[in-house]
Symmetry: C2
Subunit: 394 residues, 2 copies
Amino acid sequence: MTYADNSVNLRLGFAIGFKAIGILRRFKRVSTLTYSPTVHRLCRINCAQRQSGVMNLRELSKRLNLSQTTVSRALNGYPEVNEATRKRVAEAAQLYNYRPNVRAQTLATGRSMSIGHIIPFSKQSEMVNIVFADFIAGAGEVYSTHGYNMTLTVVRDEDELSAYRGVAEKGAVDGIIVHSPARNDPRIAFLADLDIPFLVHGRASEVTLPYSWMDVNNTRAIETGTQYLLDLGHRRIGLINGQERMDFAQRRRDGYLSALQSAGLAADETIMRSGEMNEPHGYQSTLELLASADPPTAFVTSSIVPALGIRRALEEHGLKMGRDVSVLCYDDEISYLPNGTETPIFTAMRSSVRDAGRRCAEMLMEQIMAPTPLIKTELWDAELVIGMSTGPVG
Amino acid sequence: MTYADNSVNLRLGFAIGFKAIGILRRFKRVSTLTYSPTVHRLCRINCAQRQSGVMNLRELSKRLNLSQTTVSRALNGYPEVNEATRKRVAEAAQLYNYRPNVRAQTLATGRSMSIGHIIPFSKQSEMVNIVFADFIAGAGEVYSTHGYNMTLTVVRDEDELSAYRGVAEKGAVDGIIVHSPARNDPRIAFLADLDIPFLVHGRASEVTLPYSWMDVNNTRAIETGTQYLLDLGHRRIGLINGQERMDFAQRRRDGYLSALQSAGLAADETIMRSGEMNEPHGYQSTLELLASADPPTAFVTSSIVPALGIRRALEEHGLKMGRDVSVLCYDDEISYLPNGTETPIFTAMRSSVRDAGRRCAEMLMEQIMAPTPLIKTELWDAELVIGMSTGPVG
DNA sequence: GAATCACTTCAAAGCGCTTTGGATAGCGGA
DNA sequence: TCCGCTATCCAAAGCGCTTTGAAGTGATTC
């Protein structure tokens, strides 16, 4: 009995030792600790392989007395399966609660059924693009009708390229949507090089190689909007823009300048602001411009969010928006900040970012389905909607 | 020559026929069309198997004259590899631009290195949760430090349970975050049943089984806020709440009621509103309440977004916020709608949703790493910040 | 009556990794 | 000299699917 007891203890001791090594092996880069595979090889702990009771294709086909081939085909709707058999398989799958393992599926098929979105966010501003949530909602809707889903990666600005590499090259996604392109965005050349379908939401003016994109005509939109203000008699129009390293912001600035020029007006840098598109940006900029010697009678701004800040600043100054000062903004139709229910609050250049998300997703799906590489571009026009925030110059 | 030519044509004809069948076979559920596997078997088209030139582990190890085992271990930092060998492998990997295929990796390891987020969105309101983008940004940050990423699925309300099944049971994700729980949310029992780690952002009061969650003490938050208004002398306080089938909204209502009760005030249903948390909701509700016989002197609301609507309504009525009417809101610290830069615009109960996202992600990571199922809960308190939107009753 | 064909089904070979269970060589101590 | 030990490395067996190439029925055709 003493012997037996000892042996039990010994085995127990071993087991613990092995377990430690097993764990050790799992924690990578631990070469300082002593570790021996000679010992390790005896370790049987933690091998989660082939758990019985787990319902997989093999198990299911065994219970059905059919081959994996037939079961797989039956479930995937291939024609070469007897309808009676298909029914039997479907019922068994239901009964045993069988779900194919997507990881195995994607490995076998070579498609990951997933689209990558890489969300850049600047550590300083801690801000996600305003339109991001609605864009995602639109895109996601399309993906799900195609059986796809989204893989999101949130990365700091500086890590972004390596994140693309990580997501793309390893076959984790079948396609990529590029958000918020800068004027000369390195990501485009990078992705083109990786040879994976991708589509840019927006454009990168300085990139010359061909790539797929979907954009709103930002230049024309803001040109039209500014023109509208000019038509109302405004001659001093402030611009409260997004960050102008972003392509869309630069283009909006171009549109603004172009409208001024057509009207024979000189641009005045002192009433043009550019920055992170949040509410305080609109507020602060407006305060500054109002405090200037010759304050603007109208404002053009990049989004409904800074427009809210403009409104706040105006009200603080006792100015009534639409009567004393006019405001025109770009309206992406952000779902929780709709521009009024019936009459628009803000006169705006309108284009739904949710629709853009949908369209981008569709275009990318087409690219992925296409047998040969496909480059498609699409340019939308924003629509001018007249709201209560503009009026003839006082 | 005639023969040869014919045979070429024949083969060509076959090839085209086969190609059609290959495509046919890929389009599933096409049993109406004639299709024969006897013919199909001759088809060699579209088998993208083992493309030469593709750099995978096998290819890399061949070029290095090493086994796949050794190369894999070298790259993954296991101790049992000679440092010289490891260096050689690393250099070759770099040279040949080798990236392990994540699909194969996840199949082999059994972990998908991905967290699922299922975004419910109601077809009617076409709205995504306001706090969603910031929550995701916070969570994503944590995931990426752990080598994880997010899999997002956007689903209509009615499809949600099946989406969970799709995402979870097939092993596509290692864990799930549940957003916007309702009071008696069926998803919780469902996920518990699927036996996959999950964490609820918020709680479901009516669910009795144990589950992991992270929440802000919404009841106490709004109780404190309402109390503050009461202390300022307000006796008629309107509530503009979110949809009360949502747990958080119900709890906020509870807090509001509880504060009134402590002050010996009866609740008045006519000055309580509940709805989708967008700007027009705040605006419309305020207009209605202001039009009533005995309008409130103060408002409590669920988010900074309806608070903006309240402000707009007040200003339209020529009422100054903070002087004529007080407004207190819940502030999630949405990145593009910060509550002022220095002095807060709105007096608010504050709690960062980005931090919540971070914390939820951390807690879920812990659950996933844990050897045995782990249930953890965490309750945060929101902080009262005094801004310019409140003042003593006039 | 043999050849042909459509219809079903199957065994086995992938997909590209990780992990297991050795094997081998070199080295110091008994 | 032999043994035990460590440091390296490897072949092969998974992971759970899909797809290939074949085979076994009957029915039909010539």
